[in-house]
């Protein structure tokens, strides 16, 4: 085994251990003290106990969603950066986040979300799928990166404009508040209903993204060279965009917009895998899961009267990071 391979195996094992650790810690953090003794319910002795209820109905779905959402953001960020060959790319760049948010806002606005709880996640997924279809129409069969970015900008601005319009016209200020809070991004008060709704889509999206590795490696050389190595770029792009839409759409729908994870995680982990876009995919999924689980633990521990929203925390860490990244890249260019 070469030294780089050994480092990769070590990295994967280390990250897996950290993810399991963060997952377990996440189960025991919250306003109500739940100890190991409350988990007796797990073995069927006292399923009605409050502790067990809190654990199984609140903590467990929250931790599962934390990992799933984080892994989705990390993985899709790594895939998009590899495809676009740009370390500043993010799932938001192809318009999926904005469009998912718009459809969720429509669900709020029409009152659907109030009368039918699942309207929100379903709306998010529909929005992501709509963004993908629009991007396919705008970018067509042309497989160039620039067209994809421009189409993403167009979709994002359109979705942003429509979201503002909906908020502007909102007859009910409470609905507007609800929308704004949802857009901040959070994992609080999620149930297993959310898990069952989102996780199947997320899993299918992961599969599509994880199998892109070789194509992303080939794209290191540029698009013509990748095509000359036998890759069908139009099909690669379709898989990338669909995989991102399914996983990020479902994740955004249950958690709201959680930014910068897809940017920060692949960037930090890239040196660990020798900058290989293929090896970066599984590593970034684990890293994203760890980051969101940890951030979600921190928001529950912060001593504020109201819980800080998860999306706010990731943005507060992520935005300065983005600035530093920009400065570093500029220095490299000089």
């Amino acid at each position: 085994m070469t030294s780089s391979k050994r480092r990769y195996v070590l990295g994967i094992s280390g990250l897996t251990t950290l993810a399991v650790f963060a997952f377990c810690v996440s189960l025991f953090v919250g306003p109500a003290a739940v100890g190991l003794s409350d988990l007796a319910g797990f073995f069927g002795s006292a399923p009605s106990e409050t502790g067990w209820l809190i654990f199984s109905e609140i903590r467990l779905p929250r931790a599962i969603l934390g990992f799933a959402v984080g892994a989705t953001l990390g993985l899709s960020g790594a895939a998009l950066q590899g495809y676009l060959r740009n370390p500043l790319a993010e799932p938001g760049i192809i318009g999926v986040t904005a469009s998912a948010a718009l459809f969720a806002v429509i669900a709020f606005y029409t009152g659907l979300a109030a009368s039918f709880a699942l309207a929100l996640p379903i709306g998010g997924i529909l929005g992501a799928v709509a963004a993908v279809m629009l991007i396919q129409i705008l970018a067509g069969r042309d497989s160039s990166v620039l067209t994809l970015i421009l189409a993403g900008v167009a979709v994002t601005s359109f979705a942003g404009a429509m979201t503002s319009l909906a908020l502007n016209l909102s007859p009910n200020p409470f609905a507007a508040y609800e929308v704004i809070f949802w857009m901040l991004g959070s994992l609080a008060d999620r149930s297993f209903e959310h898990v069952w709704l989102a996780v199947p889509f997320i899993a299918v999206g992961w599969l599509m993204l994880l199998t892109l590795g070789n194509a992303l490696n080939a794209l290191t050389l540029g698009e013509d060279e990748a095509a000359s190595l036998g890759f069908n770029l139009s099909r690669i792009r379709l898989r990338l965009v669909l995989g991102t839409a399914l996983s990020v759409g479902a994740a955004t729908a249950v958690s709201g917009a959680i930014g910068f994870v897809g940017l920060v995680v692949p960037h930090l982990l890239r040196p660990l895998v020798g900058h290989s876009p293929k090896l970066l995919l599984p590593v970034s999924a684990l890293g994203g899961g760890i980051l969101v689980l940890s951030a979600d633990i921190i928001v529950r521990l912060l001593p504020f009267e109201r819980e800080i929203k998860l999306g706010v925390l990731t943005a507060m860490i992520g935005a300065p990071f983005f600035l530093i990244l920009l400065l570093k890249h500029r220095r490299n260019l000089l």
Binding site: T220, S228, G230, P277
Partner: protein, 253 residues
């Protein structure tokens, strides 16, 4: 013997005909230079031969239509080195060169390791193998990109201006490596701007002008005062120094 041929090849980009009715063929073991003024369609012809371009007319690989050949199969036969290629991530030299083995799959690629070693040695990269590609000089990087194509051991090797921007030493290195591959049985088709390198290394030269084949034959047949005047609008001094042919563009006409 493998043969790559075009018949009545026409390529239009944005309503403009870049190549018009181009018919030519290439066989394994020969070194062919594609020359012509800027915009003559050299790169487009090379891309079409690599299967990277929509076209009308016919391109065949051993009498089989190029478009009908499975992509990976095609990639195992035809290697393509693009113009001003680059590496977008700071991966190691060895990792970049191994990308040339992608068409062979991960599992049943027994020759992979040996092919990569040979390619690294051919391009004199063994001492650099663990360096990051982005930290290399332009000449070193050009050799790495060439080694990537050689690692696939293609029967047909297409290279678009592989010596552009290289110093004379590296130009000769790259041309000699390519020439050796042709001598070793590959068809090597190279887009060149340097006419001296073309007459010195190529057995056959194809001169493109405004998207059509203006001349196709031995260097002596193609590099004539008339052709140079018609296509490039130049007058050139030609001759031999110590048995090495040269073409020196002297003046515009």
């Amino acid at each position: 013997m493998t043969q790559l041929a075009t018949t009545g090849l026409t390529v239009s980009l944005g309503g403009h005909e870049i190549l018009r009715d181009v018919s030519c063929s290439f066989e394994t073991g020969e070194f062919v230079a594609l020359i012509g003024p800027n915009g003559a369609g050299k790169s487009t012809l090379l891309k079409s031969l690599a299967g990277l371009q929509d076209y009308s007319g016919q391109i065949t690989l051993d009498r089989q239509s190029l478009g009908l050949i499975e992509r990976r199969e095609r990639a195992r036969t035809i290697g393509y080195l693009g113009q001003s290629g680059q590496a977008h991530w700071p991966i190691s030299v060895e990792a970049l060169v191994s990308l040339g083995r992608l068409p062979f799959g991960d599992e049943n690629d027994q020759n992979g390791a040996a092919a990569i070693e040979t390619a690294l040695a051919d391009c004199d990269l063994l001492p650099l193998r663990h360096r990051a590609v982005t930290a290399l000089s332009g000449g070193e990087r050009a050799r790495v990109l060439l080694a990537r194509v050689l690692a696939g051991q293609p029967k047909i090797l297409l290279a678009d201006e592989p010596v552009a921007g290289l110093d004379p030493t590296h130009q000769l290195d790259v041309m000699t490596t390519l020439h050796d591959k042709a001598a070793g049985g590959a068809a090597v088709i190279v887009v060149l701007h340097d006419l001296s390198l073309a007459v010195r290394f190529a057995e056959r030269i194809i001169l493109l002008h405004n998207g059509v084949v203006a001349a196709n034959g031995t260097p002596d047949d193609v590099i004539t005062p008339e052709n140079l005047a018609d296509c490039y609008g130049i007058e050139a001094k030609q001759g031999l120094v110590d048995g090495i042919p040269y073409v020196l563009p002297a003046s515009r006409i």
